[in-house]
Protein backbone atom coordinates (compact mmCIF):
# COMPACT_ATOMS: atom_id res chain seq x y z
CA UNK A 1 0.00 0.00 0.00
CA UNK A 2 2.79 2.37 0.92
CA UNK A 3 4.51 1.45 -2.33
CA UNK A 4 1.33 2.22 -4.22
CA UNK A 5 1.07 5.65 -2.59
CA UNK A 6 4.65 6.39 -3.49
CA UNK A 7 3.95 5.33 -7.06
CA UNK A 8 0.88 7.57 -7.26
CA UNK A 9 2.89 10.48 -5.92
CA UNK A 10 5.50 9.87 -8.59
CA UNK A 11 2.86 9.78 -11.31
CA UNK A 12 1.42 13.01 -9.95
CA UNK A 13 4.75 14.76 -10.20
CA UNK A 14 5.69 13.30 -13.56
CA UNK A 15 3.24 15.66 -15.28
CA UNK A 16 5.49 18.61 -14.43
CA UNK A 17 9.09 18.53 -15.40
CA UNK A 18 10.04 21.89 -13.90
CA UNK A 19 13.13 21.31 -11.81
CA UNK A 20 13.47 23.03 -8.43
CA UNK A 21 16.58 24.86 -9.62
CA UNK A 22 14.62 26.43 -12.47
CA UNK A 23 11.97 28.04 -10.27
CA UNK A 24 12.02 31.78 -9.84
CA UNK A 25 12.14 33.27 -6.37
CA UNK A 26 9.33 35.68 -7.26
CA UNK A 27 6.12 33.60 -7.01
CA UNK A 28 4.11 35.92 -9.31
CA UNK A 29 6.72 35.62 -12.07
CA UNK A 30 6.92 31.86 -11.56
CA UNK A 31 3.15 31.55 -12.02
CA UNK A 32 3.37 33.53 -15.27
CA UNK A 33 6.30 31.38 -16.41
CA UNK A 34 4.31 28.22 -15.70
CA UNK A 35 1.31 29.51 -17.66
CA UNK A 36 3.49 30.44 -20.64
CA UNK A 37 5.35 27.10 -20.48
CA UNK A 38 2.02 25.27 -20.64
CA UNK A 39 1.24 26.97 -23.96
CA UNK A 40 4.57 26.22 -25.65
CA UNK A 41 5.18 22.99 -27.52
CA UNK A 42 8.28 20.96 -26.83
CA UNK A 43 9.78 20.60 -30.31
CA UNK A 44 11.55 17.37 -29.50
CA UNK A 45 8.46 15.47 -28.34
CA UNK A 46 6.04 17.60 -30.38
CA UNK A 47 2.93 16.73 -28.38
CA UNK A 48 3.90 17.84 -24.90
CA UNK A 49 4.20 21.32 -23.55
CA UNK A 50 7.63 22.41 -22.37
CA UNK A 51 6.12 22.53 -18.88
CA UNK A 52 5.51 18.77 -18.99
CA UNK A 53 8.47 17.65 -21.01
CA UNK A 54 11.65 16.24 -19.56
CA UNK A 55 13.58 16.94 -22.77
CA UNK A 56 16.76 18.96 -22.56
CA UNK A 57 15.51 21.53 -25.07
CA UNK A 58 12.32 22.04 -23.01
CA UNK A 59 14.53 22.78 -20.00
CA UNK A 60 16.46 25.38 -22.02
CA UNK A 61 13.30 27.08 -23.24
CA UNK A 62 11.84 27.12 -19.70
CA UNK A 63 14.98 28.89 -18.53
CA UNK A 64 14.80 31.27 -21.50
CA UNK A 65 11.16 32.14 -20.69
CA UNK A 66 12.07 32.81 -17.05
CA UNK A 67 15.01 34.98 -18.08
CA UNK A 68 12.82 37.10 -20.32
CA UNK A 69 10.18 37.52 -17.60
CA UNK A 70 12.82 38.44 -15.04
CA UNK A 71 14.21 40.99 -17.48
CA UNK A 72 10.79 42.66 -17.50
CA UNK A 73 9.22 41.35 -20.71
CA UNK A 74 5.44 40.99 -20.85
CA UNK A 75 3.90 37.56 -21.43
CA UNK A 76 3.19 38.44 -25.06
CA UNK A 77 6.76 39.65 -25.67
CA UNK A 78 8.15 36.49 -24.10
CA UNK A 79 5.98 34.20 -26.22
CA UNK A 80 6.81 36.24 -29.31
CA UNK A 81 10.54 35.84 -28.61
CA UNK A 82 10.13 32.06 -28.65
CA UNK A 83 7.93 32.16 -31.77
CA UNK A 84 10.56 34.31 -33.56
CA UNK A 85 13.08 31.54 -33.02
CA UNK A 86 10.99 28.43 -33.50
CA UNK A 87 7.98 29.52 -35.57
CA UNK A 88 4.25 29.47 -34.81
CA UNK A 89 4.42 25.68 -34.47
CA UNK A 90 5.69 26.10 -30.89
CA UNK A 91 2.29 27.45 -29.92
CA UNK A 92 0.13 24.55 -28.77
CA UNK A 93 -2.91 26.72 -29.53
CA UNK A 94 -2.48 28.00 -33.08
CA UNK A 95 -3.06 31.74 -33.58
CA UNK A 96 -6.06 32.92 -35.61
CA UNK A 97 -4.50 34.28 -38.81
CA UNK A 98 -5.17 33.84 -42.55
CA UNK A 99 -3.04 30.68 -42.72
CA UNK A 100 -5.12 29.03 -39.98
CA UNK A 101 -8.61 30.26 -40.95
CA UNK A 102 -9.47 26.84 -42.40
CA UNK A 103 -8.37 25.22 -39.15
CA UNK A 104 -10.40 27.54 -36.93
CA UNK A 105 -13.48 28.22 -39.06
CA UNK A 106 -13.61 25.04 -41.17
CA UNK A 107 -15.31 22.77 -38.59
CA UNK A 108 -18.08 25.26 -37.57
CA UNK A 109 -18.74 26.02 -41.25
CA UNK A 110 -19.04 22.30 -42.00
CA UNK A 111 -21.47 21.82 -39.09
CA UNK A 112 -23.63 24.76 -40.23
CA UNK A 113 -23.56 23.53 -43.84
CA UNK A 114 -24.57 20.06 -42.65
CA UNK A 115 -27.46 21.43 -40.57
CA UNK A 116 -28.72 23.64 -43.41
CA UNK A 117 -28.41 20.75 -45.88
CA UNK A 118 -30.30 18.38 -43.59
CA UNK A 119 -33.02 20.98 -42.97
CA UNK A 120 -33.49 21.61 -46.72
CA UNK A 121 -33.57 17.90 -47.45
CA UNK A 122 -36.13 17.19 -44.73
CA UNK A 123 -38.33 20.05 -45.91
CA UNK A 124 -38.22 18.86 -49.48
CA UNK A 125 -39.12 15.33 -48.41
CA UNK A 126 -42.04 16.63 -46.36
CA UNK A 127 -43.24 18.75 -49.28
CA UNK A 128 -42.97 15.75 -51.59
CA UNK A 129 -45.05 13.56 -49.27
CA UNK A 130 -47.72 16.30 -48.98
CA UNK A 131 -48.01 16.36 -52.78
CA UNK A 132 -48.83 12.64 -52.98
CA UNK A 133 -52.28 12.08 -54.54
CA UNK A 134 -54.29 9.23 -52.92
CA UNK A 135 -55.07 6.20 -55.13
CA UNK A 136 -58.10 6.49 -57.37
CA UNK A 137 -61.00 3.96 -57.10
CA UNK A 138 -59.76 2.16 -60.20
CA UNK A 139 -56.20 1.87 -58.83
CA UNK A 140 -57.50 0.60 -55.48
CA UNK A 141 -59.49 -2.18 -57.07
CA UNK A 142 -56.56 -3.14 -59.28
CA UNK A 143 -54.22 -3.27 -56.27
CA UNK A 144 -56.75 -5.44 -54.37
CA UNK A 145 -56.89 -7.79 -57.36
CA UNK A 146 -53.09 -8.10 -57.41
CA UNK A 147 -52.99 -8.78 -53.68
CA UNK A 148 -55.61 -11.51 -53.95
CA UNK A 149 -53.71 -13.10 -56.83
CA UNK A 150 -50.61 -13.27 -54.63
CA UNK A 151 -52.51 -14.85 -51.73
CA UNK A 152 -53.92 -17.55 -53.95
Amino acid sequence: MRFLCALMLLVGFAAHAVEPSERLANPALEVRARTISGELRCLVCQNESIDESGADLAHDIRLFVRERLTAGDTDTQTIQAVVNRYGAFVLLKPPVEPATYVLWYGPPILVVAGLVGTFLWLRRRQAASADTVPLSAEETSRLDGLMRENDG
Binding site: L43, V44, Q46, D56, L57, D60, I61, F64, V83, N84, R85, Y86, G87, A88, F89
Partner: protein, 178 residues
Amino acid sequence: MARAIYLLPLVLFMVLATYFAVSLRPNHDIHELPSAMIEKPAPAFDLAGLGASKPLALDGLKGHPFVINFFASWCVPCRIEHPLLMRLAEQNHLPLYGIDYKDKPEDGSHLLATFGDPYRQVGVDRDGRVGLNFGVYGVPETYVVDSTGVIRKRFVGPLNAETVDKELLPLLKHLDQS
Protein backbone atom coordinates in the same frame (compact mmCIF):
# COMPACT_ATOMS: atom_id res chain seq x y z
CA MET B 1 -26.93 20.27 -61.52
CA ALA B 2 -28.29 18.53 -58.43
CA ARG B 3 -26.44 15.42 -59.55
CA ALA B 4 -23.16 17.23 -59.03
CA ILE B 5 -23.50 16.66 -55.30
CA TYR B 6 -22.93 12.93 -55.84
CA LEU B 7 -19.42 13.80 -57.08
CA LEU B 8 -18.62 15.46 -53.76
CA PRO B 9 -17.31 12.30 -52.02
CA LEU B 10 -15.08 11.60 -55.00
CA VAL B 11 -13.73 15.15 -54.95
CA LEU B 12 -13.10 14.96 -51.19
CA PHE B 13 -11.33 11.65 -51.67
CA MET B 14 -9.09 13.13 -54.36
CA VAL B 15 -8.18 16.06 -52.11
CA LEU B 16 -7.29 13.72 -49.24
CA ALA B 17 -5.39 11.35 -51.52
CA THR B 18 -3.32 14.23 -52.90
CA TYR B 19 -2.60 15.47 -49.40
CA PHE B 20 -1.43 12.04 -48.26
CA ALA B 21 0.60 11.48 -51.41
CA VAL B 22 2.44 14.75 -50.82
CA SER B 23 2.95 14.26 -47.07
CA LEU B 24 3.99 10.62 -47.27
CA ARG B 25 6.29 10.89 -50.26
CA PRO B 26 9.63 9.12 -49.87
CA ASN B 27 12.51 10.99 -48.22
CA HIS B 28 10.08 13.37 -46.56
CA ASP B 29 10.17 13.51 -42.77
CA ILE B 30 6.82 14.77 -41.48
CA HIS B 31 8.42 15.67 -38.16
CA GLU B 32 10.86 18.05 -39.79
CA LEU B 33 9.89 21.62 -39.03
CA PRO B 34 10.36 24.63 -41.27
CA SER B 35 12.73 27.15 -39.76
CA ALA B 36 11.31 30.47 -38.60
CA MET B 37 14.73 32.04 -39.19
CA ILE B 38 14.93 31.70 -42.97
CA GLU B 39 15.63 35.07 -44.65
CA LYS B 40 16.27 36.63 -41.24
CA PRO B 41 19.62 37.90 -39.95
CA ALA B 42 21.51 35.22 -38.09
CA PRO B 43 21.49 35.93 -34.35
CA ALA B 44 24.79 37.42 -33.21
CA PHE B 45 27.16 35.20 -31.26
CA ASP B 46 30.65 35.43 -29.90
CA LEU B 47 31.80 32.04 -28.68
CA ALA B 48 34.99 30.81 -27.10
CA GLY B 49 36.97 28.61 -29.47
CA LEU B 50 37.05 24.85 -28.98
CA GLY B 51 40.55 23.61 -28.16
CA ALA B 52 43.04 25.43 -30.34
CA SER B 53 40.35 27.14 -32.43
CA LYS B 54 40.08 30.91 -32.45
CA PRO B 55 36.92 32.36 -30.88
CA LEU B 56 33.96 32.19 -33.24
CA ALA B 57 31.96 35.38 -33.75
CA LEU B 58 29.28 36.09 -36.32
CA ASP B 59 30.72 39.46 -37.24
CA GLY B 60 34.04 37.85 -38.13
CA LEU B 61 32.35 35.52 -40.62
CA LYS B 62 30.38 38.06 -42.64
CA GLY B 63 31.69 39.09 -46.04
CA HIS B 64 31.49 35.63 -47.59
CA PRO B 65 28.71 33.06 -47.54
CA PHE B 66 29.39 30.31 -45.02
CA VAL B 67 27.95 27.21 -43.44
CA ILE B 68 27.36 26.69 -39.73
CA ASN B 69 27.04 23.17 -38.44
CA PHE B 70 25.71 22.48 -34.94
CA PHE B 71 27.16 19.24 -33.62
CA ALA B 72 27.97 17.52 -30.34
CA SER B 73 30.07 14.62 -29.15
CA TRP B 74 26.97 12.99 -27.65
CA CYS B 75 25.05 13.23 -30.91
CA VAL B 76 24.83 9.93 -32.76
CA PRO B 77 23.49 11.22 -36.12
CA CYS B 78 26.44 13.66 -36.18
CA ARG B 79 28.77 10.67 -36.56
CA ILE B 80 26.83 9.67 -39.67
CA GLU B 81 27.40 12.98 -41.44
CA HIS B 82 30.95 13.45 -40.17
CA PRO B 83 32.75 11.62 -43.03
CA LEU B 84 30.73 13.69 -45.50
CA LEU B 85 31.75 16.92 -43.74
CA MET B 86 35.38 15.82 -43.89
CA ARG B 87 35.07 15.17 -47.61
CA LEU B 88 33.36 18.54 -48.21
CA ALA B 89 36.07 20.38 -46.29
CA GLU B 90 38.89 18.65 -48.13
CA GLN B 91 37.51 18.40 -51.66
CA ASN B 92 35.06 21.28 -51.94
CA HIS B 93 36.81 23.65 -49.52
CA LEU B 94 33.46 24.25 -47.89
CA PRO B 95 33.55 27.34 -45.63
CA LEU B 96 32.33 25.23 -42.72
CA TYR B 97 32.20 26.50 -39.15
CA GLY B 98 31.23 24.30 -36.24
CA ILE B 99 29.31 25.04 -33.07
CA ASP B 100 29.79 22.45 -30.36
CA TYR B 101 26.26 22.42 -28.94
CA LYS B 102 25.66 21.69 -25.23
CA ASP B 103 28.81 19.69 -24.93
CA LYS B 104 31.80 19.51 -22.63
CA PRO B 105 34.64 21.19 -24.54
CA GLU B 106 37.01 18.30 -23.76
CA ASP B 107 34.51 15.83 -25.27
CA GLY B 108 34.14 17.98 -28.37
CA SER B 109 37.91 18.25 -28.78
CA HIS B 110 38.25 14.51 -28.29
CA LEU B 111 35.67 13.87 -31.02
CA LEU B 112 37.49 16.07 -33.55
CA ALA B 113 40.88 14.61 -32.57
CA THR B 114 39.56 11.10 -33.12
CA PHE B 115 37.53 11.48 -36.32
CA GLY B 116 39.14 14.54 -37.89
CA ASP B 117 38.23 18.22 -37.89
CA PRO B 118 36.29 19.46 -40.93
CA TYR B 119 35.75 22.96 -39.48
CA ARG B 120 37.69 26.15 -40.11
CA GLN B 121 36.80 27.30 -36.60
CA VAL B 122 34.72 25.83 -33.82
CA GLY B 123 32.86 27.72 -31.10
CA VAL B 124 31.65 26.27 -27.82
CA ASP B 125 27.95 26.76 -27.06
CA ARG B 126 28.07 25.24 -23.60
CA ASP B 127 24.56 26.20 -22.45
CA GLY B 128 22.90 25.95 -25.86
CA ARG B 129 21.84 29.58 -25.95
CA VAL B 130 23.21 30.25 -29.44
CA GLY B 131 21.41 27.11 -30.60
CA LEU B 132 18.21 28.40 -29.02
CA ASN B 133 18.60 31.75 -30.78
CA PHE B 134 19.01 29.91 -34.09
CA GLY B 135 15.94 27.79 -33.41
CA VAL B 136 17.91 24.56 -33.18
CA TYR B 137 15.73 21.72 -31.93
CA GLY B 138 18.05 18.81 -32.42
CA VAL B 139 21.59 18.24 -33.58
CA PRO B 140 22.95 18.06 -36.18
CA GLU B 141 21.52 21.14 -37.85
CA THR B 142 23.26 22.99 -40.67
CA TYR B 143 22.64 26.60 -41.67
CA VAL B 144 23.69 28.35 -44.85
CA VAL B 145 24.31 32.06 -44.22
CA ASP B 146 24.94 34.62 -46.93
CA SER B 147 27.69 37.23 -46.91
CA THR B 148 25.46 39.80 -45.19
CA GLY B 149 24.69 37.41 -42.36
CA VAL B 150 21.18 36.41 -43.44
CA ILE B 151 20.16 32.76 -42.95
CA ARG B 152 19.20 31.30 -46.31
CA LYS B 153 18.65 27.64 -45.60
CA ARG B 154 18.51 25.13 -42.80
CA PHE B 155 19.12 21.40 -42.97
CA VAL B 156 17.77 19.36 -40.07
CA GLY B 157 19.43 16.05 -39.26
CA PRO B 158 22.52 14.53 -40.84
CA LEU B 159 23.43 15.84 -44.28
CA ASN B 160 23.64 13.28 -47.04
CA ALA B 161 25.47 13.34 -50.36
CA GLU B 162 22.25 13.89 -52.30
CA THR B 163 21.05 17.00 -50.41
CA VAL B 164 24.59 18.37 -50.43
CA ASP B 165 24.94 17.97 -54.20
CA LYS B 166 21.44 19.09 -55.09
CA GLU B 167 20.84 21.85 -52.54
CA LEU B 168 23.75 22.93 -50.39
CA LEU B 169 26.52 23.26 -52.97
CA PRO B 170 24.33 24.93 -55.67
CA LEU B 171 23.02 27.40 -53.09
CA LEU B 172 26.53 28.28 -51.91
CA LYS B 173 27.68 28.70 -55.50
CA HIS B 174 24.72 30.97 -56.19
CA LEU B 175 25.46 33.02 -53.05
CA ASP B 176 29.12 33.25 -53.97
CA GLN B 177 28.27 34.77 -57.34
CA SER B 178 25.63 37.22 -56.20
